[in-house]
Each structure stands twice: as C-alpha cells, then as structure tokens.
C-alpha cells in the first residue's frame, strides 16, 4: 500500500482488528508481515501503548465513586449507565496527557545510553567469554618454578635419548615450534577483539608532557618533577 492510499481493504481491516484488541500478532506476522505501512503503524501503536502503560496512574476523586454508585442504584441501572455513557461526547485528551506522553516517549527514544567504550568491552566479553576470563585472571596467577629434580631428570633423559650432536638440533626445533605456537595464539587472540578508539603512546620522559599537564602533575604530586629538573 502506498502512503497516499486511503485506509481501507486489508489494511483497514487489519487496523480495525488491531485497534480493538484482536491483533495480538506481532508486526512481523499476519497482514503486517506483508505491508510495511501497517507494520510501521502497528509498531507506533505498540509504542504508544507502552508509553501509556508507563505513565503514573492517577486515582479518581472519591466523589466520583459516590456519584457512580448513586446513579447505578436500583432497577435498570445497567441500562441507565449505558445511556449515560452514550450521552458523553468524545473528549480530546488534555494537553497535560499529551505532554506526559511526549516526554515519556522522548525518554524511551533518547534514553541514557551506555558509553561506547562500555559497549565495546561488553561486546568483547560476550564474543568470547572464555578469552575475557583468561585475560583477566591469568596475569594474576602465581608463577611456579619447576622443581630442580625435574630439570635434572629431563637433562638426564635428554642426554640418554639424544647424542650431543643431535641435541642442539632438537632444541632449535622445539624453540621454533614454541615460537610459532605463541605467534599463532597471539594473532588469534588479537584478531577477535575490536580495535580501541584511542591510540596510546608511552613517552620515555616527562619532557614530552604538555606544560599544562606537567604543571598539574607536578603540583598535585608535591613537587617531585620540579626538584628533579631545577
């Protein structure tokens, strides 16, 4: 359906059905699955319902309850109530309600977003939780040194298994294999992560600091830089 078509036909039926609570199907199903305009309309309606549902509920005045109870007392109260309701004209929503809906919709549409860096960190974590955990904890593990007895046994075994002329070749082969494995692991680790947005360089001296930064860090730190560089 184009944007200029009147609302009728399948679109009109669908919207009528949906407006009266018969359209429980989400936008991606039913008529809306084939009609982008109705799907958009349905999403807007759902959004409005969510917004309205999020508004604070105001209590009716106590007098109203008394009036309603009085009007409904006695025989034919249901008929009288229906007649009174039918007499009521359709009222436009008060301006306060419109403003409240607009404000709530604005909050939902432009609500606080997490900073980009947080999104990146979470994405990295979700993309490979195991890797993230490993990176976080491996660095803090205590490094154990191999017992001297193990080194002695390995030396003895090596001497027995390989004559001195072959031992050097075996060692180089093992070293090359270990280096290759480390490189492969490092590339794989780096390949999965998004690049940070900032590039960090580490100057070798405080002389590279901007005068403003240098002055501040010297001041807050008690004059260590000044005493050194006088």
């Amino acid at each position: 359906m184009s944007a200029t078509d009147p609302i009728g036909g399948p679109c009109g039926e669908h919207r009528e059905l949906w407006s009266h609570g018969g359209g429980a199907a989400p936008p991606e199903r039913g008529h809306a699955a084939e009609c982008s305009a109705c799907a958009a309309w349905q999403r807007r309606l759902q959004r409005s319902l969510e917004v309205l549902a999020g508004l604070p509920r105001l209590a009716s005045p106590a007098q109203l309850e008394g009036c309603v109870a009085g009007a409904l007392r006695g025989e034919g109260r249901l008929a009288r109530a229906i007649a009174r309701v039918r007499e009521l004209g359709r009222r436009a929503p008060p301006r306060e309600l419109e403003l409240a809906v607009e404000q709530r919709a604005g909050e939902l549409a432009h609500g606080r977003r997490a900073p980009g860096v947080l999104e990146r960190l979470v994405e990295e974590e979700l993309a490979d939780p195991g890797k993230a955990r490993s990176r976080r904890f491996v660095g803090s593990l205590e490094r154990f040194s191999a017992p001297a007895l193990l080194a002695e046994r390995l030396s003895a075994s090596l001497a027995t298994a390989f004559p001195p002329t072959r031992r050097r070749g075996v060692a180089w082969t093992a070293l090359a294999a270990a280096t290759l494995a480390l490189l492969t692991w490092a590339v794989a680790l780096r390949g999965g992560a998004d690049e940070p947005r900032l590039r960090v360089v580490h100057p070798h001296s405080t002389q590279f600091l901007d005068p403003m930064a240098r002055g501040w860090i010297d001041a807050v730190s008690g004059g260590v830089l000044a005493a050194r560089d006088l």
Binding site: A114, P115, R199, V224
Partner: protein, 335 residues
C-alpha cells in the same frame, strides 16, 4: 617513637576493624566491638572534619620515593603547615633535604611550592574527604597500638583498598583532634612510596603572621550547567569511572600560559582523587604535536597522567589509578 599498649583504651576507641562491612553497632566476636565501632566511627568523622575545623600549626617532613619513567626519584623537604580552624590554610616550605640543591635552586623550588600550596593541601596530603565513599572503597584497621607523634597520642590505622591494589596506607591519627600526624603510603612489600610526618605541632598557634592560601590559577567552582556556558564549548564528561569514584567538584580553570579556560572535573573515592581536564577544541598548535585520537600515558610515581587530543578536543586526566581506568574515562567522555 614511643608505643603505649593500653588494652582498655584500645578496646574503647578502635579495637576492631573499621568499616569492614559491619554497620555501626554490629556485635563482634568478643561482644565488645559495639563500643569500639562507635568510637572508630567517631574518630573517622573527626578525621574528615579536622583539617578545616581544628586550628593548628606544625613543622612536618614530606618524602616521596618514586619511579618516574623507570628511574628512581627521591624528594624530601620540611614545611610549616597552618590551619585556622575555619577552612583557611597555608603551607610554607622550609628546607629541601633531598636532592641536594644550590641556594638559588632552593629559592625557586620554595617559590613554586608556595605558589601551589592549594594543590599540595588538597591532592598531595592524606585526607579522608567523604566518609561514605571512603568506607565503600577502603577498609581501615586499627593496630591497637597508641603511638606518640609530635607529642600527641595517635591511633595507628592501616587502610587498604577493597579492590585489587598493590598499595596501602598507614595513618597515625591524633585521637583528640582527628588530625593525621603521620601517613605512609606503601607498596604491599613495605616499600615506602610517600611519607608525611609532623615533627612538631601546636594546637594554640599564633597565626597572625601567616599568609593564608589564595588561589592563583583562577579556579572557579561552578555547577555543571553553568560550566559549559562559562567555557563556551560543550562539556565532555566521562561516563565510565574508576571503581568507587564519584564526581565531587566541577570548576573552570585558566591555563596561565595561554589564558585558555579548561573544564576541571574532580572525582573522588573518599581518599584519592582523579582530575579530568577538558580544554575544548585543539588550537592551531595542537597539544604537544599529537595526532588525532592519540593519547600519551606516563606513570609518575603512583600517579598516572594521560594527555592527548580526542575527537579534536584537548584532554588531560590524572590520578592514582591504572592507565586503563583513565583510558576508559577519556574514551567514554568522547565516544
């Protein structure tokens, strides 16, 4: 330094761990910690208020034993510190003990130190500025020993961050006033990083000759909403903060070299502070010739300083936090 062991006083004042997750009045294993915890809370409250509510004057020794760009750097000096008990303060340098400086060098150093006494007082000195934040980020444990510092009876506290850290503090707190009379910042292995120690103290000082601190960097405390108006550029505000830190102050400061205004956002965890400076658009000269979205990071003792230009904006951040924490702050302010 004389050490006195007084079990009753120790129990009454500070016998158990302070702020270790137990609320005031929580019973301890010995059944006597309720009083002790109340006493401890009282002392911590005194520590927060003392610098601005107690009139005092004393000579103190300050030391820093730092690594800067992997080179050791030692500094030691004496200074006269005065407080009028109403928020006024002054720090007057007396002598430089280390390194060895010539007389003209000493004169220049002391001139510099007097000019930035406000920084020394607010950022260098050990101070609990917010008890709630402090207790959320640190645990404080009393050793149970009453020590004498500058002739005053002090409780000896060990203060450790609740998060992983390689540093801790030992503070000697005057039981009567709450003034911190000695503070040692140490690495976990006991290596001394910084020291402040009163060598003498008067609680009835003659302050008539004291020249109290007057700000010289035109720092103007402003609410966040007024800051952007004053600066003339939209304020970049970090959204990701180091653990335990909260925004404590916003102000505009003026760079005395080019008279440009910067936004200064100060974040604190009750003890330490991180300073975030946003200088607006990068000028024609840039910031130390750095490229776009490049920041320099340097460790200066326990401090990390970050400077650079991000999204065409000048930014400086510094604090006793790791490089990654500062990077997260900067990145979250601009992206």
């Amino acid at each position: 330094m004389a050490s006195l062991h007084r079990p009753k006083l120790r129990l009454l004042l500070l016998a158990v761990a302070l702020g270790c997750g137990q609320g005031p009045g929580a019973p301890g294993p010995d059944g006597g910690s309720q009083l002790a915890t109340a006493g401890a809370q009282s002392l911590l409250q005194k520590m927060v208020l003392a610098p601005s509510s107690v009139a005092y004057q004393g000579v103190r020794r300050v030391e820093a034993h730092w690594q800067i760009a992997s080179a050791p750097q030692d500094l030691a000096y004496r200074e006269l510190v005065s407080g009028d008990g109403q928020g006024g303060f002054a720090i007057d340098p007396l002598e430089v003990l280390q390194p060895q400086l010539t007389r003209p060098e000493v004169d220049i150093f002391q001139l510099l130190q007097k000019g930035r006494e406000g920084f020394l007082y607010r950022y260098r000195d050990f101070r609990v500025s917010d008890l709630g934040l402090f207790l959320a980020s640190y645990s404080a444990t009393d050793s149970g020993v009453i020590s004498q510092v500058a002739g005053r009876s002090c409780a000896q506290l060990t203060i450790e961050p609740r998060t992983d850290s390689d540093r801790l503090w030992r503070a000697w707190v005057d039981i009567e006033t709450g003034l911190v009379l000695r503070a040692r910042e140490e690495l976990e292995d006991g290596t001394l990083v910084s020291l402040m120690e009163f060598e003498s103290l008067s609680l009835a000082p003659d302050l008539s000759q004291v020249q109290f601190h007057v700000p010289i960097n035109e720092e103007l405390p402003l609410p966040e909403t007024e800051l952007a108006v004053k600066l003339g550029f939209p304020l970049a505000k970090p959204k990701l903060l180091p653990a335990g830190y909260q925004l404590t102050d916003t102000a505009s400061v003026t760079d005395i070299t080019d008279h440009r205004a910067w936004a200064k956002l100060t974040y604190g965890d009750g003890l330490e502070q991180v300073i975030f400076l946003h200088g607006g658009a990068v000028g024609a000269q840039g910031l130390t010739g750095l490229g776009a979205d490049v920041v320099q990071s340097l460790a200066v003792g326990p401090w990390t300083v970050l400077q650079g230009q991000v999204q065409g904006q000048r930014v400086i951040a510094m604090g006793k936090v790791g490089e990654q924490a500062l990077l997260d702050m900067v990145e979250s302010a601009f992206f």
